[in-house]
Every structure is written in structure tokens, then in C-alpha cells.
């Protein structure tokens, strides 16, 4: 298997090889992998890659999937322009 040609994070173009290398360096939480590889920081916010990364971490460390902590989502969901935020709620003058 050529893990350099397997994309895990479509948003940030991160391959399985990069994920495995990062885990091998000792970063064994989804949050740590995210901070290094940016997996989960793109438009889909980790919906595509998180479970695959979790499986890789479990494979390398022997941890169980249910024991891994997933990064928390924070508002806002989806993209929003600064302009839209600055304008504020038109009902609240």
C-alpha cells in the first residue's frame, strides 16, 4: 500500500503517511494531530477525517475508539463573513 497516495483529510490535503508519521513521533490524540497537520481545521471541520485518524491512533497505540477524546466544535458552524457578524442582529439596535 502506498500510503503517500491516500488522502485522509480532503480539506487540508493530508495523506495517511503524514498522519502515521505524526503518530509515530508520539502525538497520539486527535487534538495533537489536528494542531500539527491541520486535520479538522478546514471547511468540513474534521467530519471526514476524524474517525479515520482515530482508527490510526488506535492501531498504533492499542487504545480503544471509545476511549479517544474528539476535539470540540465551537461556533460558528459554517462560514460567516466578518461583515455579517459586525452588522449584528438588525432587531437589536
Amino acid at each position: 500500500m502506498n500510503d503517500d497516495k491516500i488522502i485522509i483529510c480532503r480539506c487540508e490535503d493530508v495523506t495517511l503517511k503524514e498522519i502515521r508519521d505524526i503518530i509515530a513521533e508520539g502525538y497520539t490524540t486527535i487534538e495533537e494531530v489536528k494542531r500539527i497537520a491541520r486535520t479538522g481545521m478546514g471547511p468540513c471541520q474534521g467530519k471526514t477525517c476524524s474517525q479515520i485518524i482515530a482508527r490510526e491512533i488506535c492501531r498504533a497505540t492499542g487504545k480503544k475508539m471509545e476511549d479517544l477524546k474528539y476535539p470540540e466544535y465551537r461556533p460558528p458552524f459554517g462560514g460567516v463573513l466578518f461583515d455579517e457578524i459586525i452588522k449584528g442582529d438588525p432587531d437589536e439596535e
Binding site: 485522509i8 480532503r10 461556533p75 460558528p76 459554517g78
Partner: protein, 538 residues
């Protein structure tokens, strides 16, 4: 700032049902739907639904959504905001949304989250080249925009989505080269698998995709067999020619908003991933915050609608409570339980048990005395299965009789309700396998197009001295013409003989599932299960 009694986030089957069940008690409901139209995934579902008659069984998804929308617009208590994205939920229950380019605040008394699910992805070599789609995208292209995604598709995943989308691709004239399934058994309902097999599409269980072939676009795929420990078996690689690979490898709950609210989550693989903890009436660990539908655990649309109703009713009982509501809650819970009670519901039941910290159950065969191993591996029944459904010759010689090739206990009962003569013995449970009282069956064939699994055939063995007739469901274009010669296919979609169409029923009652009567040489009545319309030279 918007004020409303109950905020429903998500306008799919769960969200709409939740809104309807709240609004009928006079409370004000606001639905936020991110897209410009309501209906969620239902708007792409052209197949007939399973389930019980009370919950739209036998009705196509696209017709269900029409009915739900009519009910919505008939209710003045419901405000539907389209193109409205819920952006965040805060500690005090305030919800922010982006609507018409403005950030707005909503302060509801209760919130029901029905945001649905997200498709899972699969790691394999070259998994990012153009031509690789999620099954949802393929369905959107075909069934919303009328665009076929490719000419030759390889489907990955044999759950109900993989099987249904494959069938719809074939209906659109696309070649489905194979369905590949990593597990040793087909994941979806076996009647869906058999429908595909009758089109000649192989279902390769214990296989996975190794790589996509192609640089600028998919030109093929390499698949490989897996052993019982899910390891690839060297030397079993095969190349499948295709210009598209469609991934139907499961869904996970879309739980971002729940995460904002600080709701407690738990990883439950049976339910698709991280799901919110909630009580039996679907209130989460955050007071006043409810979930319904796939976001509460991946299931299907009928369960989603019931969950929506349940969450809605509990909200009402908390806000204005009365006795009547408690009875309704009990009824909905019963319907949900019976939907999940059969052998195919074990995954859901175990997922929910884990979530609630209850004991899980082992898979039992008590509902299925028959050995279905061949059917589960290949999508076609073995001879023992087939013979178990055929009555004695003495019965078959008395005129047309319905043969129901339904072997797996799934929550589905439209056949039983459709028979005007009561020949399909009344179910005790919605997961019962239909049984026929051949003394009552007149061979009319009304059940044929009522079966969502297209598993019913009417056989008249002694049509003439040399021929039998088989009535079968047919959902492809072009429709055959009365009197025309057709290729007759077996359960694997292989041509076994020529046949003649002697009748075709295709009126409003059939609702696009035509019932075709084909005359075949007597030797083939037991095998003839599909036809191929032969192009005539003009």
C-alpha cells in the same frame, strides 16, 4: 431577535415531524433549514419505504416529503426559514443563525436538533481523483438535477444506501459494475440485494477497494479479497473497469451544534460514531435540548420521523403537559420499538443499549429458522430457500398463486395490508416474514407492486400445456409492450429463455412499479424473475 416556543434545527424528516407534533398543540414552532428547500434526504428517495402502514410504508420517499410539506403549510403555528444556518448554541439556550446575510439571535423555550448526518470516507490509494463520489452526491446529481454521474460505476458498500443507489443508477441507464462489501455478509436488506442481482450486478462480499486507477479521472479500480480477519489476501486482486467509484460506507451524526452546547457525547460505532447521551424521550444532557433523527444515531427515515414526533411530544408535555400527550408518547415509543424489534434491528438496539449503559444482546436466529448464509453472501437465495416458498404442485396447478420471496425479517408490512382476500396471513409483529394462505390467494397480483422489496411474483404454472406465466414487478425504461418478445432472466440476471409479455399493468395504482405478466416455457417458471426489453429494429 426572534422569539419562538420551540426551535427545530433541520428541515428533514425528523425536523418536520417534530415541528408538526409540537404545532398541533398550538405552540409556536420555527424550523431552520440550511438549504433552500425542505425534506432533507427524503427528496432523493424514489424507492418505496419499508415500515408499517401507519408510517408511510409502501410510499416513495418523494411522496412522503410532499405530504409532510402540505401538513406544514396547513399549520399557521409553524414558521419555516429556508436558507437559514444555525451557527451556534450558547449556555443560556440562545441560538445564533445566519439568515439572509444577517446574524440573528433566537431565544427558544426548547430546541430540537435534527441536523442529520455526514457521509463517511474511506482510505485507499488515489482516493482523491475526480470520479470518486459519495453516494449522497450521486443521488443528488441523479434524482434532483437529472444528471448521470458516470457510465460505469463501482459501488463500495452494500448497506441499504449502497444497494438503493446502485439500483437507481441502473434505472438511470448507468452500468453498475459490481457492489463491493468488506464484511462477509451484505449489510442492507436482502430484498434490495436480490433486486440488484436480478439486474445481473455482482455483489462481492469480503472484498475491499485497494486503489483507484487513473490520473486525471477514474479509469478503473483494483479490488482485493479479505480473509476473516479483514486482511487482504495476496493474489486475489481484480481490476474492475469503471469511470466512477461511489462510496456508500456509512454515515456519522452531524453533531457540531450539540458540541457547542456542551452536551455529553459517547462513541457508539453501531450508531455511526459520536452520539449524544439522551433520555428515552430524546432530551440530551443539556436541559431543554432535544435530538431526533440521524444526529441521534444513524437509522433510517421512518425511525427519524417517529423520533421527531417523540421529541416534539415530550417538548409539549414539558411546556404545557396534559394526560393525552403521555398516551401519545407511549404510542410513538411502541411504534419505534417495533420498528427496531426484528433481526435487522439488532445493531440499532445494541447501539442504544450501549448508549443507555444497558446490556447488549447476541445475534440470535430465533426469528429466522431458515439458513440465509448463501443469500447474505451473494444476494440470491439457495434452492432450499426457494423451495420453502413454493407450494405443492397441486396448488400451483389451480391457477395463479403469489410467491413471496422474502426471507429476512425486516420491519415491513404493506403486502399484508394490500391483499383484498386476506391471503397474506395477518402479522403478529411488523418484522414477521409473510406467509400465504394459498386457498385464499387468487393470483390477482395486487401485492406485487405494494411490496417495497419487489419480492412478490405470481406464478401460473399451467397457463397452456407448454407454458407458464410469471407476473413480476418492473421499474425500468423502456417499459415492455403487450405482445412483445423479451429476454427472460433468472435471479442472477442471466438470460434463461425468451418470453412473451401478455399483460402489463401500469396505471396510477401501480405508481410506476409496473406489473408485467410474461409467458415462459413451463420448465422456467421457477427461475424466471426478471425481463430485459429487447430493442426492436425500426
Amino acid at each position: 431577535m426572534f422569539k419562538t416556543d420551540v426551535l427545530v434545527i433541520g428541515g428533514g424528516p425528523a425536523g418536520i415531524s417534530a415541528a408538526l407534533s409540537v404545532a398541533k398543540f398550538g405552540l409556536k414552532v420555527t424550523i431552520l433549514e440550511e438549504r433552500e428547500f425542505l425534506g432533507g434526504q427524503l427528496i432523493k428517495q424514489t424507492h418505496r419505504f419499508f415500515g408499517s402502514r401507519e408510517e408511510h410504508a409502501g410510499v416513495r420517499g418523494i411522496s412522503i416529503v410532499k405530504e409532510l410539506k402540505e401538513n406544514l403549510s396547513a399549520n399557521d403555528n409553524i414558521d419555516v426559514l429556508l436558507g437559514a444556518t444555525a451557527m451556534g448554541i450558547y449556555e443560556d439556550g440562545t441560538v445564533t443563525m445566519l439568515y439572509k446575510g444577517e446574524v440573528r439571535k433566537i431565544i427558544p423555550k426548547k430546541t430540537i436538533i435534527a441536523t442529520g448526518a455526514f457521509e463517511k470516507y474511506l482510505p485507499f490509494e488515489n482516493n482523491d481523483i475526480p470520479g470518486i463520489f459519495g453516494a449522497g452526491a450521486v443521488q443528488t446529481l441523479m434524482n434532483i438535477y437529472g444528471v448521470i454521474p458516470a457510465e460505469k460505476v463501482l459501488m463500495i458498500g452494500s448497506g441499504n444506501i449502497g444497494l438503493i443507489v446502485s439500483y437507481q443508477l441502473v434505472q438511470s441507464g448507468v452500468n453498475v459494475q459490481a457492489v463491493v462489501e468488506a464484511a462477509p455478509n451484505i449489510g442492507g436488506y436482502l430484498v434490495h440485494a436480490s433486486k440488484l442481482r436480478r439486474q445481473g450486478i455482482p455483489i462481492k462480499t469480503s472484498y475491499t477497494i485497494k486503489r483507484a486507477i487513473g490520473k486525471e479521472h477514474v479509469e478503473g479500480a483494483e479490488i482485493v479479497r479479505l480473509d476473516e480477519n479483514w486482511n487482504e489476501i495476496p493474489g486475489t486482486e481484480e481490476i474492475i473497469e469503471c469511470d466512477s467509484i461511489c462510496l456508500a460506507v456509512g454515515l456519522s451524526p452531524l453533531y457540531d451544534l450539540l458540541s457547542h452546547s456542551g452536551c455529553e457525547m459517547k462513541y457508539i460505532p453501531e450508531l455511526g460514531g459520536n452520539v449524544p447521551l439522551r433520555n428515552e424521550n430524546l432530551e440530551t444532557s443539556v436541559n431543554g435540548l432535544y435530538v431526533a433523527g440521524d444526529v441521534a444515531g444513524i437509522e433510517e427515515a421512518t425511525a427519524a420521523m417517529l423520533e421527531g414526533e417523540l421529541a416534539g411530544l415530550d417538548v409539549v408535555s414539558k411546556l404545557i403537559g396534559n394526560e393525552e400527550i403521555q398516551n401519545e408518547i407511549i404510542t410513538v415509543k411502541k411504534a419505534l420499538n417495533s420498528l427496531r424489534a426484528g433481526p435487522t434491528g439488532i445493531k440499532i438496539r445494541n447501539g442504544i443499549s450501549k448508549l443507555m449503559n444497558m446490556e447488549t444482546e447476541k445475534e440470535s436466529i430465533k426469528n429466522n429458522m431458515t439458513d440465509l448464509s448463501h443469500l447474505k453472501k451473494n444476494g440470491t437465495p439457495d434452492t432450499v430457500n426457494i423451495e420453502s416458498k413454493l407450494p405443492d404442485d397441486s396448488v400451483l396447478l389451480k391457477g395463479g398463486k403469489a410467491i413471496i420471496e422474502c426471507y429476512q425479517g425486516i420491519p415491513c408490512d404493506p403486502c399484508m395490508h394490500s391483499c383484498p382476500f386476506g391471503a397474506i396471513i395477518k402479522f403478529e409483529d411488523i418484522n414477521d416474514i409473510p406467509k400465504i394462505d394459498f386457498n385464499k390467494c387468487t393470483g390477482c397480483g395486487i401485492c406485487i407492486n405494494n411490496c417495497p422489496g419487489l419480492a412478490i411474483f405470481v406464478i401460473n404454472k399451467d397457463h397452456t400445456d407448454a407454458t407458464s406465466t410469471v407476473k413480476m414487478p418492473y421499474e425500468f425504461l423502456p417499459k415492455p409492450e403487450k405482445g412483445s418478445e423479451v429476454d427472460v432472466l433468472n435471479r442472477e440476471g442471466i438470460k434463461i429463455c425468451d418470453g412473451k409479455v401478455i399483460q402489463i399493468l401500469d396505471g396510477p395504482k401501480q405508481d410506476k412499479t409496473s406489473v408485467v405478466t410474461v409467458e415462459v416455457p413451463k420448465a422456467y417458471y421457477g427461475e424466471a424473475r426478471n425481463i430485459r426489453v429487447v430493442a426492436c429494429d425500426e
